[in-house]
């Protein structure tokens, strides 16, 4: 599923047949804004929701959770019809078993931190998670007795996240759950979210403005603009589509990959990922990789450079031979799409370099990037 080689169509046909799905076909009208979404989302991992501010991300999550009462259309979660305005079905939020971490944390101010967590635990039907474990993972042990309105912004987000997870819903909706956190906490909590997703096979929808975060945890990406779906599918494909979308200032152009780990540590502190039978990609080794067989990573288009001859005497460990598939002149830059094996790589070079090197379509070039240019958010 996570293999970037599977194309969009394949993904869709696969999900239609086997994976349980969240089917959305809804319409919500506000005075100045209309949300109109028709989309089936496979429920087998984390689906990212991405888009400009005010594109309707929170509204979509609220609709799924049952908090938007003015919607028309239908939402079906696996076999359960959550809403069907034609049949007059409208399942109450508390009956949907859908969790939501709000953009503002919405903690119960009359309870302590522990009280907030226990509120979820008491109403949870499965109890597959240990309260103590979640408290440890969210680093809340020292705060259990504190009043929630004395917490810092980031602490509040951690409590809200822990509380939502402890309810063990069938579907968890996360609305920018880590926006008030520092890099370190973000990394830790992303790991936790991933672990819990796997442990409970709990599908999630994850709203974030940070593509780095989404990149790291999502299998599928839904991109919204002005209340409409502009792109949906395998996260790598969607990102590569966005690379070529000039108007849309949403992302930094990049190559997004999920690759199998070939060697965890080659003895020189590098991890090798198998790009294809012949070619590997190297990146700095990290303890966190040890438990994984597959790795998500991305390489910013601006981090890759082009040489015409195989480089030597350089600290750069990655050089891949590829063929230029597309040349796309932008203002002062040129976006190249270079195909290595069957994987597209996106490279931006300066217009100046393009002039100097006068690259042409179907020309063979070496892609060159540092081990550290292969980024994972978790590290």
């Amino acid at each position: 599923m996570n293999d970037s080689l599977i194309n969009n169509a394949a993904l869709n046909s696969l999900t239609n047949h086997k994976t349980p799905q969240l089917n959305i076909n809804i319409n919500i009208s506000y005075q100045q804004f209309e949300l109109s979404i028709k989309q089936s989302i496979p429920l087998n991992g984390i689906t990212g929701v991405f888009g400009h501010s005010a594109s309707g991300k929170s509204t979509l999550l609220r609709a799924i959770a049952g908090l938007e009462t003015t919607l028309t259309g239908e939402i079906t979660l696996v076999d359960t019809s959550l809403v069907n305005s034609e049949q007059g079905i409208y399942l109450k939020p508390e009956q949907r078993q859908v969790g939501l971490v709000f953009q503002n944390s919405r903690l119960f101010s009359h309870l302590t931190v522990l009280g907030n967590l226990e509120y979820a635990v008491k109403r949870c039907k499965n109890s597959r998670l240990s309260l103590a474990e979640v408290i440890k993972l969210t680093e809340l042990s020292a705060l259990l007795d504190q009043e929630v309105n004395q917490l810092s912004g980031g602490q509040q987000q951690r409590v809200a996240l822990a509380r939502a997870i402890l309810a063990e819903p069938k579907l968890l909706l996360l609305d920018e759950p880590l926006s008030a956190l520092d890099r370190h906490s973000k990394t830790q909590l992303l790991k936790m979210i991933l672990n819990i997703q796997k442990q409970l096979s709990l599908p999630m929808l994850y709203v974030s403005h940070s593509l780095d975060e989404l990149q790291q945890v999502c299998d599928t990406l839904l991109v919204l603009a002005q209340g409409k779906v502009v792109s949906f599918g395998n996260i790598h494909h969607v990102i590569h589509q966005l690379n070529n979308n000039h108007e849309c200032d949403l992302i930094q152009q990049q190559t997004s990959l999920s690759l199998p780990i070939k060697t965890f540590n080659n003895g020189h502190g590098l991890t090798a990922l198998a790009l294809n039978a012949q070619q590997d990609i190297f990146l700095s080794c990290d303890q966190a990789f040890e438990q994984q067989t597959q790795l998500r990573c991305f390489i910013l288009a601006s981090d890759i450079s082009i040489t015409l001859t195989e480089p030597s005497n350089s600290s750069i460990v990655n050089h891949l031979l590829g063929t230029i598939k597309q040349i796309n002149a932008q203002q002062n830059n040129v976006l190249l799409t270079v195909i290595c094996g069957s994987q597209d790589f996106f490279v931006t070079i300066s217009a100046f370099s393009q002039q100097k090197l006068s690259l042409t379509l179907r020309q063979q070039v070496y892609l060159q990037f540092k081990a550290s240019a292969v980024r994972t958010f978790i590290h």
Partner: protein, 240 residues
């Protein structure tokens, strides 16, 4: 003599306590409904609830007495259902007090519910809490102060009520003779010494009661609790 005042005190407390409980039971859903209702019809209900305030108690009492008498429908129905006459009974003064004190309970609660907003209720629903659960675990603790206000206004107003109770209760010792009537009797009978004594003891005891209620309601500060993380749940998962 002092005995009769004591009996009046007991009747008063029974009546006020029962009335307050009934007021909270009736008033809470009514206030909730009014707070969350958006129809224009709400205005009418609000006005009806507030009406008993506008008429003098003796007049309200007169109309209630008519309604409670076995000649008219409500009184008849009561008599058929319970086999007893409604007018001049303990039940009558409780019902009268409930009607008369209703606005004091409904209005503070309604405003509290309105000010509460939806965001925490939404959060509760998404953690799986149904409406009743949400009411007791979110609404009630967050509006506790307003409940105490409502209950103490209702209680105090019932204790002090006089005109209605006198009219529909008939001043029957041990049944409908309450403290406010006893106090009035002492004044009327020129027994000022006893009236003063009774007033002062009523004042002091009410003051103590009210102070106790408000004291209970003071926000507690920095009250350390035991760590109770080691729940059953943890043991469960340890066994997995």
């Amino acid at each position: 003599m002092i005995n009769s005042d004591l009996q009046a005190l007991i009747t008063t407390l029974e009546m006020a306590a029962l009335t307050t409980i009934i007021l909270l039971i009736i008033g809470t859903p009514l206030a909730w409904y009014l707070a969350k209702m958006t129809s224009r019809f709400k205005v009418i209900i609000e006005a009806v609830v507030a009406l008993p305030l506008v008429l003098p108690p003796t007049v309200v009492g007169f109309y209630l007495l008519i309604a409670f008498s076995p000649e008219y429908l409500p009184g008849q129905m009561w008599q058929q259902a319970t086999g007893q006459q409604l007018a001049f009974s303990f039940s009558a003064i409780v019902i009268g007090s409930v009607l008369y004190s209703l606005p004091f309970v409904v209005q503070p609660l309604q405003k509290a519910f309105e000010q509460l907003g939806d965001s925490l209720l939404e959060a509760g629903a998404l953690l799986g809490a149904g409406p009743i659960d949400r009411f007791f675990t979110i609404v009630l603790p967050l509006t506790k102060a307003s409940f105490i206000t409502a209950a103490s206004l209702g209680f105090a107003h019932t204790v002090g009520e006089f005109g209605i109770i006198l009219m529909i209760g008939g001043n029957i010792p041990g049944e409908t003779r309450v403290l406010s009537i006893a106090l009035f009797d002492h004044v009327e009978a020129f027994d000022y010494a006893r009236a003063h004594l009774l007033s002062i003891s009523l004042l002091i005891s009410s003051m103590v009661l009210l102070a106790a209620i408000y004291w209970l309601n003071l926000p507690k500060r920095n009250k350390p609790k035991d760590l109770t993380v080691n729940t059953k749940r943890e043991e469960q998962s340890a066994n997995e």
